[in-house]
Structures are given as C-alpha cells and as structure tokens.
C-alpha cells in the first residue's frame, strides 16, 4: 500500500535497488549508508568483480603493470561492513513498475521501494565498413584496458580514431610508451564537442610536439583489412593509413534501453527532473546515463538539458540521489568540473562551456599555463585551464557562490582568477 501522490510506502523506504555498479551507483550505495539508511541496498552491476574507477584506464593503468585491484573504488570488506549487497556479473533485464520489481538475467527478481538507474553508457560503434571487426580496440571497461595494454606492448604503430578526451589520453599514453601514434579526428580541431578553439589549438600543438601525428578533418571511411586482420584505416579522402593496432573512441551512447522499455521518458539519456527523478517518482537516474536540466549554478542562458560524462557528475548525483531518497527531495545544483591528463598537461574545466559567447585566453609562456575564460549572458560561465589548478579551483568556488568578474576586469592583462576570488573573500 502506498500514498498515490508520493508513492512513499507505509513504513518508509525499506529496499533500494541500484542498477549499475559504476562510480555513480557505488556512490549512491555508500551515501545511503552514510546518511543513516538501515534498509536493504542491492547494487547490481553487469561487470564482474568490484566496482572500479574508469579514469586511470586510459592513463596510469596502461603505463604500468598495475593490478586490477588498484583501480577498485572500495575493497571487498567495505561491502560487507556496510551491508551493501553487491550483485556483480548480474544484469537487470526488465523493470516492472507496477510491482516495483526488477527481473535479473540469472532468473531471480528484486523488489524495490526506490530504484536508482546508474546504467552508464557504452561506446558508439564506428559506422563504417569493417567498423565491427573484432580486431578493433576500444576502451571503456577494465577488460578492454587489460586487453589493450597487452596489445600495446607489441604494437609499433597505433591509429586512434577520434580526437576527443579518450582518444587523446590514449594517444599520449601510447606515445609515452614509445609507440608511433596517428590520431584521426573528423572535425577540424580536437575535443571539438566541448573545448574552446584556444584549448583545442594548444592541446593539438602539445601532441604534435610529442610526435603524435594528428590528422584533423580526417574522417574515416572504412577499416582496412587483409587476411581477416585489421591493417589500418581508410580516410574519407581515400588515403590508407597502415597500423598494427587501431582503437576507436568516438563517443558513447547512454544505456537507456531498460528505462525506455519500462515506459520512462528518454532522449539523449534517461530524462530526469531537477531532483533527479524520472517520470516515475520512485525511480531515479544518475551519472553518464542521465539527461537533466543544466544546474542553475552554471550561469545565465543555460544550454538546456545536459548529459555529463564525468567523475564529478557521477559522484555528486550519487550523493544527491541518496539524499533525495532519505529526505525531502532537493534540486541538484552542483558545479560541473572535469579533468584530463595528457602528457605534461593537466587540463581542467569548471562550469559548462556550451553556448559560450565570448572567450578570453591567457597564455603564460614561462609556466606553460593556459587559462580560457568563457562568458555567457555577460557572466563567467566556465574556465578551462592547463596546468593551472589554482585558477581552476577558484573558478569552481566562484561558480558555486554565484559570483562573476566583469568582462572588462577579465580582459585586463594582469587579471588573475585566483587573486580576484581571494579579494572577493576578503583574504
């Protein structure tokens, strides 16, 4: 029996089922217990083993002979001590919203009072002839990383299809391992989806300085094969680039099928309201799979709905989902931030660059530091930095506190984000 308006069962919330045991799902489970929840927590993940972090998989994990255990988010003891029932290597096949029950591939079922969908995303396939060849490498999971690390050992030349964050991180890692690397990016600059032109230019230059062959406006028309093996790629211009290892990183597709089949609204992700609830108030969606309205802290003229693929988003939405299960739902309003490590560059972004109307960049040659201020609607909306963590952290605080320097202040040559913020705080 439950109150029809809110769906809160008599006796409160007793069972929470979390679909997806990645960063977002794990955070929800941890935060529920931390928040004093005494009921059952079932964390279901289709990958075997303990929940783990993905960021190291394109970086440190590929460079050293790190053990899979080194990327685990928590050790096995944690799940036992926190009484979190981890069902690894298990897939949820359907949601029965009427019965408030999910069906499992192994044949069982789990009842829920609250359901959290943290199903993440999967790699988009290469939509060209040969694009599904088993020889092609990709990187999303621990299994992908282990396999790729092995192949990298013997590779002489790697072609990376896709000049986004994943492709570039892998390119940098492989180059540092002494492999010859060619990156083929279809757009006319790298990271075109999210980075400012100034950031794209700088990153491209650093890659080239390190000997990466960066091919821009180089879409792939087909995968080259011979004798059943992948031998390279064919560009749209008709050029064949030979390689003994080809990896594609052309973005992801959110895993919305389970939600869609259950009649929940989807559209570039599982659609949620500001409190992270789907069209069914007992079901939340968070992390890489969730489509939500850009948080108010991101400034004026918000870019509509967003779907953010980042550790910050997974962690903060996991915490928010737990909070909204345990108490009166509050709107989600956390400053998005993101980082990417490529060669000596520590690229950091705070805020949303989408819809940016004006960009001001500052290059400090002595310290090899770049800062790009992005304005939208007359206010600072985002800051991209390379090797400038002080400015990055200041921007996160500034956005969180709804502050903004004026455009004219930022345009002045001596402007320092960090100093401006310290002045505002009266330090």
């Amino acid at each position: 029996m439950s109150a029809p308006e809110t769906g809160v069962p008599e006796g409160g919330v007793r069972e929470v089922v979390i679909v997806g045991a990645g960063q977002a799902g794990l955070q929800t489970a941890a935060s529920l217990r931390q928040g004093g929840f005494e009921g059952g927590i079932r964390l279901v993940g289709d990958e075997p083993g303990l929940p783990y972090q993905r960021p190291p998989l394109s970086k440190a994990f590929l460079k050293k002979n790190a053990e899979p255990g080194s990327v685990a988010l928590r050790n096995a003891d944690f799940f036992e001590k926190q009484r979190i029932d981890l069902l690894a290597g298990e897939t949820v096949t359907a949601i029965d919203r009427q019965a408030r029950r999910v069906a499992l591939a192994s044949g069982g079922a789990l009842d829920y009072d609250r359901l959290v969908l943290a199903t993440g995303a999967r790699n988009r396939r290469l939509p060209v002839p040969g694009g599904d060849h088993p020889d092609l490498a990709e990187l999303r999971t621990l299994d992908h990383a282990l396999a790729f690390r092995d192949r990298l050992r013997d590779a002489k030349r790697l072609v990376v299809v896709g000049g986004g964050y994943i492709g570039l991180e892998i390119a940098a890692t492989a180059r540092e391992r002494g492999v010859e690397v060619v990156v083929c990016e279809a757009m006319d600059r790298v990271m075109a989806r999210t980075a400012s032109p100034a950031l794209s230019a700088h990153v491209g230059k650093v890659h080239r300085d390190h000997g990466v062959s960066l091919r821009l406006a180089a879409g792939i028309a087909a995968i080259a094969e011979k004798g059943g093996r992948v031998t390279g790629v064919e560009t749209a211009e008709g050029e064949t680039i030979a390689a003994d290892l080809v990896l594609f990183g052309i973005g992801v597709v959110p895993n919305v099928e389970l939600a869609a089949e259950a009649g929940l609204e989807t559209g570039n992700g599982i659609v949620v309201d500001p409190c992270l609830r789907t069209t069914d108030p007992t079901i939340f969606a968070i992390g890489d799979c969730a489509s939500f309205a850009a948080p108010p802290c991101c400034g004026p003229k918000l870019p509509g709905r967003v779907r953010l693929e980042s550790v910050q988003n997974a962690v903060d939405q996991g915490k928010a989902a737990a909070r909204n299960i345990l108490g009166p739902p509050q709107p989600y309003d956390e400053v998005p931030w993101f980082w990417s490590d490529q060669f000596e560059m520590k690229i950091q972004i705070a805020g949303l660059t989408a819809g940016s109307e004006r960009e001001i960049d500052r290059w400090n040659a002595e310290k090899q530091r770049l800062t790009v201020y992005c304005f939208r609607g007359g206010r600072l909306a985002a800051v991209e930095t390379v090797s400038n963590p002080g400015d990055h952290m200041a921007c996160r605080r500034i956005l969180a506190e709804r502050l903004s320097p004026k455009l004219e202040e930022v345009e002045a040559a001596e402007f320092s984000m960090k100093e401006w913020f310290q002045q505002m705080r009266g330090r």
């Binding site: 190291p56 050790n75 003891d77 550790v311 963590p389 002080g390 952290m393």
Partner: protein, 107 residues
Amino acid sequence: MVKVTYRAHDGSETVVEANAGTSLMQTAIANGIDGIVGECGGSAMCATCHVYVPEDWLQRLPPRSEVEDEMLDSAVAERKGNSRLSCQIVAAPEIDGIVVEMPEEQI
C-alpha cells in the same frame, strides 16, 4: 607491504598494511578509513585527501609538485607546513611505518 598509521582528528588510530606502489589515499579508501575522501580518485584535482605529515616522516617524502602545492591551497581544513595530498604519497619500503594525521574536514 608498508605499514601506515592513519590518525583521526579525535586521536584514534587505524593501522593498515599498504601495497607498495599504491597511494596513501587509495589505501585509506580501500580500507574504509573515514577521514579521507579522495573525490577525484587520486588525480590531484580535489584536495579531499588532505593529510598532515609529522615532520620526521615529511622529510623522507619526495617534495610536493607544483600541482600538489597549488591544490593544497584549496583544502578545506587549514593548510599547514606539513600538509600533503595523500594521493601523491606513494607507499614504499622507505616510508614503512609512516603516520599521517587526518584533518577534521575534507569537504
């Protein structure tokens, strides 16, 4: 294995064995130690793995990188001369027995 003692703000201590090569932040998270958060997973991006290192151990650690130094300014708890980011301290035989003190707040 490297012995590490995590001293909480209230003085209580937890002693764990760390695998050489893993950071003190990772070790804390893996062992469920409450006083270290590590939101960014060890990339010197969040300053939520802040610790104070007693002087005699501090001297035995490699110096802070510029990134670590800058990030420490953003730590929530007071930055002191012996502040370090535990994600940048790698467990190694040379620091077997190290003690680190956790601040009252990380976030």
